[in-house]
């Protein structure tokens, strides 16, 4: 009963005997005790429990002795009582003079008939006469088998190992291990067990009894009480650690509150051509209802929340001349036309992809395949007043993947964007080295890669000390002029972008090999509760 506290009666009841008390009583007159002799009827487990109870209070000391004991089986008990099978057969034949072999089982039983007949022939007590059995030995023979078993029964031992093995094989005896105890008085031996307290209680405090109270020793080898604790999901714990890194570096968290985005924001504005394989039915979830998006336009709710978040930086970096600076409002129509132009005909110093750009393809609704769609929106907004800015987001993205141990149709993308004037590629590398050092990966190298919306594009490889090899841990690059200039951002403003999945570093951190054990409804609740806190700075 959990929660029971205070003085409790210690005696351990066994078969209505007060065993602990009996042990104490007997020790008073007889020392040492041999439990097998003094308490033959009590099971070893019960004896042990009682002795442990007393020994833990130093009232007794005991030593255990292991020995083997040979016991008869039910069959051999029967032999001891009624004689061996062969003797039974001999007696039956003697009584009747002659027994047809066929009828023997019905007279002495099937078991005695088969074993007893064979042994009787071998001992030359009986013999076959045609189809019948007749006596050879007319006087009752000495029943050696029965005598042997009787002897074993009395001594519970047998010195002849070969014979013992034979009897075990015939299933006439079994061997059991027996533990007996030799018990002597302990340093605190007394005839009575003093009342013990398991805990300090308010009553003991109030009465002052705690001063003389006898406290039950605490089991320092066991775990403490279960806390029935609530828990945060490990993936969100890692997410928080990443958010903290971003916050420490001055990033503003982008409003990512729409799983559905348009072909325009998710692809076209990012200079992903309309025939790009990423826009295949195989890779992207398309929305069947609602059927079609509007052209890009101002989104009041997202504007308001960005204004609110950027108020801090506006205040801090305010300069007198800012008041005179004219904000140029976004021209969504021009943006739309320029995106079309840069794909279809080329513009802003690019020859473009030179294909007929379809408006309908751009207005298709998709489940966003990356949160870079939101970064694009934020950068377009930045073009109203181009200034240094840092944005990040960590949110769910969707891919029409076949689900397996490393792929789910949804996962979290960590995305960071830094806009500033005159940024260099080496500066991005430096930033990433710093960023990943914060999460415990300090050895990085960069591989040239291809991505439709960044140029240069770099895959980030980190050295995994455990696996002793380089692992791809993220993607990065500088956004293409074809993406930035249609937004109205000035040519000398450059923008870093980098991203990684939240699941992958979490799987590495927690040693999870199947992503379905991390995200989704199949995650084990005990696992969630038992994962330690995430401390990038500590690991």
């Amino acid at each position: 009963m959990p929660g029971t506290r205070g003085p409790v009666p210690v005696p351990l009841e066994a078969k209505s005997q007060n065993l602990t008390q009996e042990i104490l009583d007997l020790l008073d007159t007889k020392e040492p005790l041999q439990t097998n002799e003094d308490f033959p009827a009590i099971s070893q487990a019960e004896i042990k429990a009682a002795l442990d109870r007393l020994a833990s209070r130093s009232m007794v000391e005991y030593k255990s002795l292991d020995s083997e004991r040979i016991l008869l089986t039910a069959e051999s008990e029967g032999i001891v009582e009624h004689g061996s099978h062969e003797l039974k057969v001999w007696k039956a034949v003697k009584e009747r003079g002659s027994i047809p072999i066929k009828e023997l089982p019905s007279i002495v039983g099937a078991e005695s008939a088969s074993v007893g007949q064979g042994n009787g022939f071998k001992n030359k007590w009986i013999k076959k006469d045609g189809d019948a059995i007749v006596l050879v030995e007319t006087e009752e023979p000495k029943d050696t088998n029965r005598d042997l078993l009787k002897g074993i029964k009395d001594s519970q031992s047998l010195d002849d190992a070969k014979l013992l093995a034979q009897l075990r094989k015939k299933k006439l005896v079994t061997v059991t291990k027996v533990i007996t105890y030799t018990v002597t008085k302990g340093t605190k031996y007394a005839k009575d067990i003093p009342v013990e307290h398991t805990d300090l209680t308010v009553d003991l405090l109030a009465s002052g009894a705690w001063e003389t109270a006898n406290f039950k020793p605490y089991n320092f080898a066991a775990l403490g009480a279960n806390q029935d604790a609530g828990a945060l999901h490990p993936l969100n714990k890692v997410r928080q650690e990443f958010r903290n890194i971003f916050f420490s570096q001055g990033f503003v968290e982008m409003p990512t509150g729409h799983y559905v985005d348009t072909g325009f924001w998710n692809f076209d504005a990012l200079f992903v051509p309309q025939q790009h394989p990423a826009r295949d039915m195989q890779d992207t979830f398309f929305v069947s209802y609602p059927p079609k998006a509007d052209k890009p336009r101002l989104d009041a709710a997202s504007e308001a929340v960005m204004d609110r978040m950027e108020a801090g930086s506006r205040r801090l970096f305010a300069k007198p001349e800012d008041e005179k600076k004219e904000k140029k409002p976004r021209d969504f129509e021009k943006y739309w036309d320029d995106v079309k132009k840069v794909h279809q005909d080329g513009a802003f110093g690019s020859i473009g992809y030179r294909y007929p750009w379809e408006e309908d393809e751009s207005l298709r609704l998709v489940l966003r395949t990356h949160t870079t769609a939101v970064s694009t929106w934020a950068l377009h907004r930045l073009a109203e007043d181009p200034r240094p800015a840092r944005y990040f987001s960590i949110d769910r993205v969707f891919r029409n993947e076949t689900v397996d141990a490393t792929h789910l149709a949804e996962f979290h993308q960590i995305e960071g964007v830094i806009a500033d004037f005159d940024l260099t590629l080496g500066g991005l590398q430096r930033f990433l080295v710093d960023f990943f050092t914060n999460m415990g990966i300090s050895n990085l190298r960069f591989k040239p890669a291809y991505n439709p919306y960044t140029e240069p594009s770099m895959e980030i490889f980190g050295y995994h000390a455990g696996l002793k090899r380089w692992l791809e841990i993220g993607n990065s690059g500088m956004f293409r002029p074809e993406m930035l200039e249609p937004m109205g951002l000035p040519k000398d403003m450059r923008v870093y972008g980098f991203g990684l999945s939240l699941e992958r570093p979490t799987m590495m951190k927690y040693g999870v090999s199947n992503i379905r054990e991390l995200l989704g409804h199949k995650v084990d609740l005990s696992w969630i509760r038992e994962q330690p806190a995430v401390r990038f700075d500590k690991e």
Binding site: F247, V260, A293, P296, Y355, K522
Partner: protein, 593 residues
């Protein structure tokens, strides 16, 4: 990204060096391709039983490395063992070009056609195999499974120009397709290849069209039925000397890219590249093809140096860029300008940003000066809804509930029928192309995920108390994206008793933390100025009758219903296969912003 398998010994022979796998991996890494596998290190019997191969991943926009020849060429140029070849076309001895006439009817189905002739080519079995494999790779990647471009190659000596590109009703087109021995018409051909694993997937491109594209020679021999198959008659063999390549397309840019790639990769085995004369007056596409002249563009020295953080002279930059196949000369008139000849192989070069990247690759990404400009500091800010969510998450976990993260996508019945909810057809975002019924729509409630999570954890002891703070999606036709997310809080408890007072208590606790006072219903309805929340019994088929309550709130003089809690209806438990009573709580967090 395409992966190309090349013969290891042959590649190292061409590169003039026996690389260790590690050395070659380094070379690939610096150049921006990736060594995926060296089969000599494989333990699979099928790999050990054949000459060692290197499997190399190629960036999706480098069509000039989709075959052995291209990889060798680009690596040798990068290693400065050779210059990139300069490709030129040559008319045949007589000066008379082969002619391809394009009929206006082709406009209905596959309007564009181009081609080239490789004269005096010497194939070996390896070269021939590579030639076929390259076409497959181009079809799969750049040509988007032959929809945009498809290639047909022919033994020129088996056919006779002028050639004619036409569009005819399927029944009128009769020929023996490649590798077959009996003649069939267009319609029969569609049926014949219906079940073909390889070709079957291309049939849809033309099948339902009233006319099919077809190329004839002057004897009305069918060369090919693009984009499906060539004719057996003009098949290219290892012994073929003169190859006629015809390319049909719906995309003009990609048409010529494909032509350029085939020429650049295989011209080295031929005596000359011979152009063809295309007559296509109806759409203004008459010309001689291909045009192999490099594209001239300019790049700014300052831009290249600024973005890479380097400071090299125009001459040094030019030298580095030649490792990437560019022919660059500093402009005579402007010290800041480089005149760049972009070879036909580099279709990926669109902007001087691409030249800048090549400059950085040639210099070495990992040798660039790593300096982060210390010019600006920024002021961070969390997204308000995430900050609010974190408050609620922490308070709920502190109350002894466990956070879970189910999926956003779910099936229609989990979101509606199983919860005894009706789909009005206007609120849920539905998906057009899910691979499984598990992903039919964006959840409109957090309940399905919570209940599925409990279902997968049935082996644990009860009570089980879980929660989630995350977004649901709803249709909102006012929005540009016709939909928006909404941040919800939801919790569920399963135990031997219903747990109704548990979710109720959790609601009270969260409202306390969100500074919303508890009101009685009468007070709430009577006094509009009183801010706070109250609950009202509601009739909701998700819940057991008489055991569900709407959560009402007065914020700034406005009343909202933000959610509902209650004991789940036994039929809901049955659908989600939950053995014990379950109570749930769900409400919209956004009103607390």
């Amino acid at each position: 990204m395409p992966t190309i398998a090349v013969d290891k010994a042959a590649l190292y022979k061409e590169l003039g060096k026996e690389y260790t796998t590690k050395e070659f991996d380094e070379l690939c890494f610096e150049f921006g391709i990736e060594l995926d596998e060296d089969t000599s290190e494989s333990t699979k019997p099928e790999d050990q039983n054949q000459p060692a191969q290197l499997k190399i991943e190629i960036p999706a926009n480098r069509y000039d490395m989709l075959c052995f020849e291209g990889i060798v060429m680009n690596l040798k140029v990068f290693l400065e063992q050779q210059q990139l070849p300069k490709w030129t076309v040559n008319a045949p001895k007589g000066g008379e070009l082969q002619v391809l006439n394009i009929k206006p009817e082709t406009k209905q189905i596959r309007e564009l056609c181009s081609g080239v002739i490789l004269r005096g080519i010497t194939f070996t079995q390896e070269r021939y195999d590579s030639f076929i494999a390259l076409q497959d790779k181009l079809h799969a990647n750049l040509a988007r499974q032959r929809t945009l471009v498809s290639i047909g190659t022919h033994d020129l000596d088996t056919v006779k120009g002028p050639f004619s590109y036409e569009a005819l009703p399927p029944e009128e087109i009769k020929f023996i397709p490649l590798k077959q021995d009996k003649e069939m018409n267009g319609k029969q051909l569609m049926e014949f290849y219906e079940k073909d694993k390889h070709l079957g997937r291309f049939l849809h491109i033309i099948r339902d069209s009233p006319v099919y594209p077809v190329i004839y020679d002057s004897n009305r021999t069918v060369l090919s039925l693009p984009p499906i198959i060539n004719g057996e008659h003009s098949k290219v063999k290892v012994s073929t000397k003169n190859v006629f390549i015809e390319i049909t397309a719906t995309d003009k840019t990609k048409l010529e890219i494909v032509n350029h790639m085939l020429v650049a990769m295989f011209a080295a085995y031929a005596e000359s590249i011979e152009p063809i004369k295309i007559n296509s007056p109806h759409n203004g596409e008459s010309r001689e093809a291909p045009d192999l002249s490099p594209r001239q563009m300019q790049a700014e020295v300052k831009y290249l140096n600024d973005v890479t953080g380097l400071n090299l002279s125009p001459e040094e930059i030019s030298k580095l860029l030649s490792k990437m196949g560019h022919d660059v000369t500093p402009s005579k008139s402007d010290a800041n300008i480089l005149d760049v000849s972009v070879p036909i192989t580099r279709a990926d070069i669109l902007h001087q940003a691409d030249i800048m990247e090549d400059y950085a690759i040639a210099y070495g990404f990992n040798k660039l000066p790593q300096v982060f400009p210390n010019k600006t500091a920024a002021v961070s800010a969390p997204l308000p809804i995430n900050k609010l969510s974190d408050i609620v998450r922490l308070e709920t976990a502190a109350s002894g509930w466990t956070e879970v993260m189910p999926l956003i996508l779910c099936s229609h019945e989990e979101n509606f029928e199983w919860l005894n909810r009706k789909d009005d057809g206007k609120s849920a975002i539905k998906l057009a192309n899910p691979k499984t019924a598990e992903y039919q729509l964006v959840r409109t409630s957090l309940l399905p995920g919570l209940l599925k999570t409990i279902n997968s954890n049935k082996h644990h002891s009860v009570p089980m108390k879980i929660f989630e703070v995350s977004d649901i999606g709803v249709v909102d036709l006012e929005q540009e994206r016709k939909s928006r997310n909404e941040r919800h809080f939801a919790a569920a408890v399963m135990g031997k008793t219903s747990g109704f007072e548990q979710v109720h208590g959790l609601l009270d606790r969260l409202m306390l933390m969100l500074r919303s006072a508890f009101l009685t219903r009468e007070d709430g309805l009577k006094n509009e100025k009183l801010q706070g929340y109250w609950i009202e019994e509601v009739d909701d088929p998700t819940f057991l009758a008489g055991h569900s309550a709407a959560i009402r709130i007065n914020l700034g003089g406005k009343n909202h219903t933000i959610g509902v809690f209650g004991i789940l209806h036994p039929s809901v438990l049955q659908k989600f296969e939950l053995p014990y009573p379950v109570s749930t709580l769900e409400f919209n967090l956004e009103v607390f912003l």
